[in-house]
């Protein structure tokens, strides 16, 4: 077979894209069903209130309405609670019913559901449900939630304090006592709304005869949803099928198990065999899909005379919202574990308190706890550099471990697999032309212009992960099925929703089997079709899912070899080589497709060979992986208005081996864009009464393409030995690395005003006010 440039490492456009761009993708809302009925949900307008009465009689008798259900109906059918998969040790956990019972705890909490043959009729009937509320004071600010006398979100818990978690090592007291300097900064990580382009949606159908429930849902974790749903709804797990069709983005907001999924399953069973559909409106997506971040804390560093960090202390409060959803409590623990960033230190103390408030739950959102960790240590590095008059890049270099020190054990007990932090830092500064930039900055500052240069060096934890450390397990599965015609079907337990594994897994398989990309099909998302897997989150698809795929492909090859040997008349399978899609022994050869055919035809097979050619494998990683990099951002601040303009943006990221650099770039671009949102534009705002006043895209500003600068990106490649692919994962790296670079740049621009910190989002008015205050 002719030599072909490997697919792996090539910038290939995605095979997913043509159908998506042409509007041929089949999302939940596109699926067609006969006799489809629609569900509309009544949600509380109050953030905190007793429900003194709920009268659905008018709604029930409205023309076209099939059913109206409340929590009483769920109770009667023994439907379980919305579960939390991350109950930390000692955590006070409230009951979370899928529909509120007698008390509502956040604006948007579901109270009742209406089923009707048309969406209009269902929606109209919502207005006919008469609810009387007795409003209670709401607690919104997480720090206020801990104060005595604060309204209690869950009276039965007698406190709003959900948990206290900490990690520590070394002698932090000694570090601070002996420090030449202590730098400290209070930091607020504002609430963010993930805002995937496709909101959530569910279609459920139940056939009572064979007790089969099917749930089509826009999710990142179809198998996990299946397991949880079966338990909550009272069906055997193998009678439940969950299908994640085309999913239009998740960013962690669909790494969850929601009340609406339980509700639709319940309704489908009650109204069987009608298929029932619920699709979120954008205001529902904003109010009732999990929010990101929501942490406030103070980070301190004990630093010696040379700028070496002796220890870091971080105390924070995590706003959990009214109920802990699937992984909410775990998110700030990732902040804690990564609190040292990419720096060496001998001691660390992290203490996180989780609190309940009358707002929507917080949970995983792109980065999930690590953007917070990187942001605050990188802000602190700039503060230290400023106070001690050390060059910010130099300060970082002094504290970074050397490549020889890897695998590197951190103060928090993690083992960073591999890294060359200085190399990425130096390369980023080189691309940016840091010397020239500083010179230009000096010149322009003399002219009165506010130019700022910001650096962010990050290391992050991903490719979740060792199963002991991941709530439902951190392994991944793959089945490789070779069809009689030689086509290959891959079934992956990963559940991509925009990442592009249909292309990248096919690249791996095409190279491995020496076949064409077009002959490979990657399937995912349907629990009836795909073997049990964990799903997509934590930048794990390639590192964990790809390795499972590699294992399965190796098993297929190892199974085929004896057959090939037999067909080639070779002495033993060891005499057979497999390369370029061809099995060879001596001067005889046979193609992959021919072997596949023979395996199924089975007319001539060796002893012990089981007909067919497929294999399933799973991969349990022994560690997380730790991508890293440095971003450099240059901005100008308008002296008169506080507006921020990007002048340059440089990103050097290291995700180990890159299977498809085009897609890696795409992940970095998207991650930086969401960082721009967090740094400059986005904030989910609840007023004191708990109303989400940023309830629509009218008031919540996600960044638009023209607001993003040209991204100058490059990669270094430091492989990992955590998996044989040498891949680290890159889905969240951009979001983790970029935010501090942007904020550091703006604060650098404001140096003439003596500004040392501003909390995000850095809106023009905030910046303008600071300039007025310092007044120069």
């Amino acid at each position: 077979m002719s030599e072909r440039e490997p697919y792996v490492g090539r910038r290939i456009k995605r095979t997913e894209d043509p159908r998506l761009i042409q509007g041929l993708g089949r999302y939940v809302d596109d699926l067609r069903f006969a006799d489809l009925h629609h569900v509309s949900i009544l949600r509380s307008p109050h953030a905190h209130a007793k429900v003194t009465s709920l009268d659905a009689s008018k709604a029930r008798s409205a023309s076209g309405v099939l059913a109206v259900v409340t929590v009483d109906d769920l109770d009667r059918a023994n439907v379980g609670d919305v579960p939390c998969g991350a109950v930390l040790s000692g955590m006070k956990k409230p009951t979370h019913r899928p529909l509120a019972r007698r008390k509502v705890r956040f604006a948007g909490e579901p109270l009742a559901a209406v089923v009707a043959p048309s969406l209009a009729a269902a929606r109209d009937a919502i207005d006919l449900i008469a609810v009387e509320y007795d409003p209670l004071s709401a607690v919104i600010d997480p720090e206020a939630a801990l104060k005595p006398g604060a309204p209690l979100v869950h009276e039965e818990l007698e406190t709003n304090r959900a948990f206290d978690w900490s990690v520590s090592s070394g002698d932090i007291e000694a570090a601070f006592k002996s420090a030449a300097r202590v730098a400290s900064q209070r930091i607020v990580h504002q609430r963010l709304i993930p805002c995937s382009i496709e909101p959530r949606g569910v279609v459920a159908q139940y056939f009572p005869g064979d007790r089969q429930l099917t749930l089509y849902t826009s999710t990142q974790i179809p198998h996990l949803v299946r397991t949880m749903l079966a338990g909550v709804i009272g069906l055997p797990e193998n009678h439940v099928r969950v299908v994640a069709p085309e999913v239009g983005g998740g960013f962690g907001s669909k790494l969850n198990f929601y009340a609406e999924e339980i509700l639709l399953a319940f309704l489908a069973m009650q109204l069987a065999p009608r298929p029932l559909k619920w699709i979120e409106t954008r205001p529902e997506n904003f109010a009732a899909t999990i929010h990101g971040r929501g942490q406030v804390g103070t980070i301190e560093a004990a630093v010696n005379r040379d700028g070496r960090i002796l220890g870091v202390r971080y105390r924070s409060i995590q706003d959990l919202g009214a109920y802990p959803q699937l992984l909410g409590p775990a998110i700030p623990t990732l902040t804690g574990l990564m609190a040292a960033g990419c720096y060496k230190m001998d001691s660390i103390l992290v203490e996180v308190t989780g609190v309940y408030t009358n707002q929507m739950s917080t949970d995983a959102y792109r980065g999930a706890g690590r953007p917070e960790a990187t942001y605050q240590i990188e802000r602190l590095m700039d503060i230290i550099a400023d106070e001690m008059h050390i060059d910010p890049a130099d300060l970082r270099r002094r504290n970074m471990p050397h490549p020889e020190e890897f695998p590197f054990k951190t103060a928090t007990g993690l083992t960073y697999d591999s890294g060359n932090y200085r190399k990425a830092l130096d390369r980023a500064l080189e691309i940016a032309g840091i010397e020239k930039l500083r010179e230009e900055q000096r010149t322009l500052r003399d002219q009165g212009r506010l130019i700022g240069i910001g650096i962010s060096s990050y290391a992050e934890i991903c490719a979740l992960g060792p199963s002991a450390a991941v709530p439902a397990g951190g392994w991944e599965s793959a089945t490789v099925r070779v069809e009689p015609t030689g086509k290959v079907t891959i079934l992956t337990g990963a559940s991509p929703h925009g990442q592009g594994e249909e292309t990248t897994f096919a690249q791996l398989a095409a190279d491995f089997f020496g076949i064409s990309l077009e002959d490979i099909l990657v399937k995912h998302g349907d629990t009836a079709e795909v073997q049990y897997g964990i799903g997509t989150f934590g930048s794990r698809n390639m590192a964990v899912g790809g390795t499972a795929l590699l294992r399965a492909m190796e098993r297929v090859r190892d199974k085929a070899k004896p057959l090939a040997a037999h067909l080639l008349g070779a002495a033993s399978p060891d005499a057979v080589t497999f390369s370029g899609g061809t099995f060879s022994a001596g001067d005889q050869s046979i193609s992959f497709a021919e072997v596949a055919n023979a395996a199924h035809r089975a007319a001539s097979i060796p002893d012990g060979f089981e007909p067919g050619l497929s294999a399933t494998a799973s991969f349990e990683p022994k560690n997380f992986t730790f991508p890293f990099g440095t971003h450099v951002c240059v901005v100008e601040v308008d002296r008169e208005t506080g507006d921020v303009t990007f002048l340059r943006y440089v990103a050097v990221d290291d995700c180990g081996k890159a299977i498809n650099p085009l897609l890696v770039d795409g992940q970095i671009h998207g991650g930086i864009a969401q960082s721009i949102g967090q740094a400059l534009y986005e904030e989910a705002i609840y007023d004191e009464a708990g109303q989400l006043v940023t309830g629509e895209l009218m008031d919540y500003a996600i960044p638009k393409a023209h607001q993003c600068p040209h991204f100058e990106t490059e990669r270094t490649e430091t492989p990992t030995d955590v998996n044989p692919l040498g891949v680290k994962g890159v889905g969240e790296a951009g979001t983790i690395g970029a935010t501090p670079a942007i904020v550091n740049a703006v604060i650098d621009a404001l140096e003439p005003f003596g500004v040392t910190h501003i909390d995000m989002p850095l809106k023009p008015e905030k910046i303008w006010r600071l300039m007025q205050k310092e007044g120069r």
């Binding site: 307008p45 207005d127 205001p283 009464a689 006043v693 309830g695 008031d699």
Partner: protein, 199 residues
């Protein structure tokens, strides 16, 4: 959101206070009132139509008066629900005499809080403050008109609404006359417009 300000009414405090707690007056002056019915000593059931721009909704609920210290102090609380969501407000009115050039004047200082919730709160925040202020302004302007009307020599209506209905009927007669004239005058233009046709 906070609403505060002041308004001057051309009537003595006692008279002004009486207007503020009068059921008929409230029915005429509260902007958008569709129905106002006394439920108790200081409680009224209300249906209010609210609108600004294209936004339009109806709130059903209660108005309650409290902390009555005639003629100087009054608290009005509003509590309503509707498709736009809910509205809850409480405002303290403090009246004091403002004698100027001999005329009876009352200065009403008001401060209160209005909380809206639900659909309107999640998308309409930027206009709600302005709309609320406008409604408060309308209310006091209407009270002012009531105060003036009470001073002018027009027979006091014996039964609620009858005089108003009479005036309305007269007005509609006059309007009809005027319109017919206007139509006649305009007819030549209308024919011209019709002959232009097309888009």
């Amino acid at each position: 959101m906070k609403i505060e300000g002041s308004s001057t009414i051309q009537a003595a405090p006692a008279r002004t206070f009486a207007l503020l707690i009068d059921e008929d007056v409230l029915r005429r002056c509260v902007p958008g009132v569709r129905r106002l019915i006394r439920e108790g000593e200081d409680r009224f059931a209300v249906i209010l139509d609210v609108g600004f721009g294209s936004v339009q909704g109806t709130y059903e609920g209660r108005v309650a008066l409290s902390e009555k210290v005639p003629p100087s102090r009054l608290q009005i609380a509003v509590d309503g629900q509707g498709r736009l969501g809910f509205v809850r407000g409480k405002g303290l009115l403090q009246l004091e005499s403002d004698e100027k050039s001999g005329a009876h004047l009352t200065r009403i200082a008001y401060q209160g809080e209005v909380q809206i919730g639900g659909a309107l709160a999640s998308v309409g925040q930027r206009m709600v403050q302005g709309a609320a202020k406008a409604m408060v302004g309308q209310f006091f302007a209407a009270i002012e008109a009531e105060a003036k009307a009470a001073e002018s020599p027009v027979p006091v209506p014996v039964k609620h609404g009858r005089l108003r209905n009479l005036l309305r009927w007269l007005r509609s007669i006059l309007r009809g006359l005027f319109q017919r004239r206007a139509v006649r005058r305009a007819r030549p233009e209308r024919n011209r417009a019709a002959s232009q046709g097309g888009n």
